[in-house]
Symmetry: D2
């Protein structure tokens, strides 16, 4: 479907619908980080959203454009306030952009009727023991975790539509699972020996002032990090295990690249006996046919992170490996959009009954 | 005005209006360069524009997304064709993104009823002798040059509305004149000794494969270029001369910065006797009050090119100089948007009678 | 050994030695590319080298600093000339930085007493049939190919010392083999299922003016390329086959990163039965003990490409994989130094009987 | 003089000289920042320097290569210690890389026989009142300030040779004064209306973890900062006042560029009556004739920061301005080398009686 047709499809419900149905009051908790800013950027032209609260405990009292001057034209958003000063009675839905652990504490205190899109890791892992193992402490809101819906939209759209508390996937899990989940589900690749070599821009590390993320420390270079210990690993395994119908253990090695935005996963997989690379491509193509935000590229065409910059699109492609019986699945996304706030908005659109693509059809910015 | 209010103001005319009035067929000539791609990106969600022809003589026959894969979701645009294969009878307006000189030849052969937004330098200089001096050959379409309207929108909005052939300003002239023109016009700064130190991203040099623009030649470094000889100089002087009511000769030194997009002009000016820096700021503030795309920042706040990336906004500010009687005027734009295709669309919107901000209210992308 | 001790060890032979022994005349063929410039940069302070000819057919007649202004202080180097105008009778050794195929034609015409360090791919593959398969034409200097010594210095030092024609390894083969060869040789990893995910800076693509390598096309993004078809693949397989003592087929996927210099190979390997990751580290540590340019980092420390920038060093480390029985070997080099001209000089030093580290002990430049 | 000739000229004194004369023990105070690391990088191959102490109060106890992994091959340097744990009785000279204010306190406690190269701003301003005005507190070591020699080497070489406490110039003052001082001194340009538009890489801001210097905040963009209030302004004015023989007030506007290293000053000046631009070039050429580290480029050639990266060179050029009677002087340096540690070493070489260029002749690294 092209963007124009989608834009038409995305047009708001008939004008006869009551106003309150169409315009929701949204709070963004933890708005002083990059994902918070991205929510404001993306929703600025959303016809159904009015941002009525922005929280940032350390920055409370400041105009949002003092914290994010690129949003100086978004003059309709309120000042930053402390989270305790938000009147949630006036709020219809919340984007939660807080750090993990804090998130649990905050969300469990929110009115239980509020729709919540949580961008943290807190509600992604269904097994509290897995959470405890990877995050080093017991989960403090186990009941909520049971309620949470995992929001990899293309794979769980129906559940998302009826979600109240949505666990928005991590960037690496989004990028890698979009390519691998349908192939495993269809039994076209083996669940053993899946190796994911991932590359990410620096914005994934957030806006906290850390020496390791200074310009001079990052520019003109790359490095692996968290080799064998990245917290997105159990999240990916959880999804792939579901797809395979049996436990999947993956190899996952993230790399930090000197770019602000962008993510690629290069996944090395084994074909099931008798399966060809063309069958993998066919499977992905049919899985994502009609999907507004996923594009399976033609044979031989390589996706670039540059070609999704600033957009909610995921591009992917499949290649034969030189080692017989193997294939390479490559996916790219913008880690802050499809990998965070964009997918969050895609999910909220579904949760609120709005057209899924509303305010998300901006094309990638290149160069 | 905030972006939401503007979006409402920009909503299309009542549905009862005839379709033909509301949707125009647009051709983009020379679409295989960065400004052409930017026209397609920006117009993709424009409710009144249907791109019906894209030309690129060397790339004719290719799908547009083969040439610009970041626009893979813009599946409603046609293949690239040779300019001679366009049926201009079906076209309502043209974006001309061709090189100078070629442009004159092409535009003078177009049907004279076509609205034309020309992004080249060919119709910007009103005096053909100045053109000949700076471009090394006689102008080949002098009659058309007389007809052309110079499209620095905020300064010439009324003329733009009735333009048929619009000469879209250069990026440096847009950035610098927005800051300087109103001050000169108001007599607040002197027309002598205006020094403009300008900085630009590399996309201004286009997509031609030149050694000097290779990644390795540009990365992690800056340099001045065309010192004292840049072709945007006479264009800026033409505007400032008009503003001052007397001949203005400027100093203009452009610098190439290792960034794809973005432009800053740092202008060093002399205050007219008795004038203060606060008066400059007041003048700019009142000049641009209500303007959708220009923001005069509060005292002491410095504009960054990062804060307009991908958007049609211009941010500016004024500072006292340490040398008494002097001031510094700083403006930033995205050279491909407000400095080229975005302002081109802003002008076309006016020329076609559509709301000026249509499809241009995307906020800047940061980080 | 620390750099100071090495510098002392590298000090020239006693002053009583005849001058001719100590100072050799060097020609750099194809000096107008990045590897040629790097040879000049590195040899500028070499006490035994005098560059007496620099060739560049298209740039003949120009001062070298007109072509590479960063070498403006290297005023002792001659102008660029055509290769046919070089008097090779006065030359002791040659760095050949020409494109493949051309190289064969040029080298076979050189006086057969000349020492040659060839940075092209022409003499790296020992089997002419493999060359023909990957390069699409028969090898034109098969006899010379038999004579050539493959110059991965740390692995073939003894042969290098007596080489006349040295085939300097490719950057990817250098980076990956330094990590994998000793492990395969020792039987600690299996020869099956070796997957190399490689990342390179753009300078590896040379200085030719190609659209794909423009700043705007590269900045702030990454992409895979030549998936399954890169010409360094057979070179790596040749080396690993030798190490394993049986045919090795690898998976090799290069990625282009937005940086000028730097290379990382992330290699995914299977441990031989009963072998531990600590044994891999021990093997590498003992293999490279006393090596001036290879450093095996302590357990858990990740090498960064930034930390070898501009230097001849290779940093490596080994990590356990989350999948049992697997390990991850990571190596980084500067593709233009250890991956090209630096290793070339290291080899020439050996071939000429000079201390191996002469003029190569500059530390990495960071930030 | 070419680099080879200089290297010969730089060779150490005859071997008969007593060892103590030739190898000095050096301490680097505040070694955990970029300028400290740069001192270690540059001195690693210095035949007369042994680094015997590195201080970093917060990092005390760590190996230096844990703090700066790019120096992993510099295994001869000691661990970081607290400054109070240094035995200064064993030290011959000190590089002081501490923050201003702290520096005064530290240096006044050092043994008074120690040679000190101070890279902070603390001893650059000769007038304590000026210091107090710009730094907001009284100078705490006024007596030492009287003793300090300002180390812009090319301008004050004789004083440097006999200095005990050397105030190493700031990066902006080095870059701008090298171009302007000789012209003012010769009366070729007017002392009025000197405007310096300066551009710097981010390493000038140091390694402190500040949000403003994160990769994402800096990448792909520029901005002015400290407009009219930068603390290098009085330092430049001090020098230019001396050159002009009368008070000079300058306009100085620094810009932060998305690069780690590099600095350019674009200075807009007025010619003295009757003076031509060629005279300016001649003056600079004759001033710097024979200087090892300054190169005046030929007419029309523009210096790039890329062409001095990692080196101690300064490139400069002069251009006519379009405004009659004006000229543009452009200089570039690497802010961490000629703008900090490199010039510091150049000065120490002179202070110790070693050849001035020792360990400083590395050519620039490009790309």
């Amino acid at each position: 479907m092209d963007v124009r047709a989608q834009a038409v499809a995305s047009s708001p419900a008939p004008a006869s619908a009551p106003m309150k149905t169409n315009v929701a009051n949204i709070a963004v908790l933890g708005a002083s980080g990059y994902t918070g800013a991205e929510v404001v950027r993306l929703t600025a032209l959303h016809p159904n959203i009015k941002v009525t609260a922005l929280t940032g405990d350390k920055q409370a009292g400041k105009a949002f454009s003092d914290v994010f001057p690129h949003l100086v034209a978004a003059t309709n958003v309120p000042k930053l306030v402390k989270i305790d000063d938000v009147n949630f009675g006036d709020v219809d839905a919340v984007f939660c952009c807080l750090p993990h652990a804090t998130t649990q504490e905050v969300i469990k205190k929110l009115p239980s009727n509020l729709k919540v899109v949580d961008l943290s890791a807190d509600f992604r892992l269904k097994n509290p023991a897995t959470y405890a193992e990877w995050y080093g402490h017991e989960h403090a809101a186990v009941e909520l975790q049971k309620e949470a819906v995992y929001g990899l939209t293309e794979l769980y759209r129906d559940q998302v539509k009826s979600a109240r508390l949505l666990a928005n996937p991590g960037c690496y899990p989004t990028c890698s699972q979009l390519g691998l989940y349908p192939l495993l589900k269809a039994g076209l690749i083996l669940p053993e020996d899946i190796l994911i070599d991932a590359k990410s821009g620096v914005s994934g590390a957030g806006r906290a002032a850390k020496e390791a993320n200074l310009y001079c420390e990052i520019a003109e270079g790359i490095n692996s990090y968290a080799v064998g210990s990245h917290r997105h690993m159990p999240e990916i395994e959880q999804g792939l295990t579901e797809a395979a119908g049996k436990p999947v253990t993956i190899s996952f090695t993230p790399h930090l690249i000197n770019m602000s935005r962008g993510m690629q996963t290069t996944s090395y997989v084994k074909l099931a006996p008798g399966v060809t690379v063309d069958q993998l491509r066919s499977q992905l193509t049919s899985t994502y046919e009609g999907e507004p935000f996923v594009r399976v590229l033609p044979k031989g065409v390589v996706p670039h992170t540059r070609h999704v910059r600033g957009s909610n699109y995921c591009l992917m492609s499949v290649f034969p490996d030189r080692i017989a019986g193997r294939a390479i699945v490559i996916s790219v996304i913008d880690n802050l959009v499809k990998g965070a706030s964009g997918q969050g908005l895609q999910n909220l659109n579904l949760m609120m009954g709005w057209p899924e693509t509303t305010a998300l059809l901006q094309l990638a910015m290149f160069p």
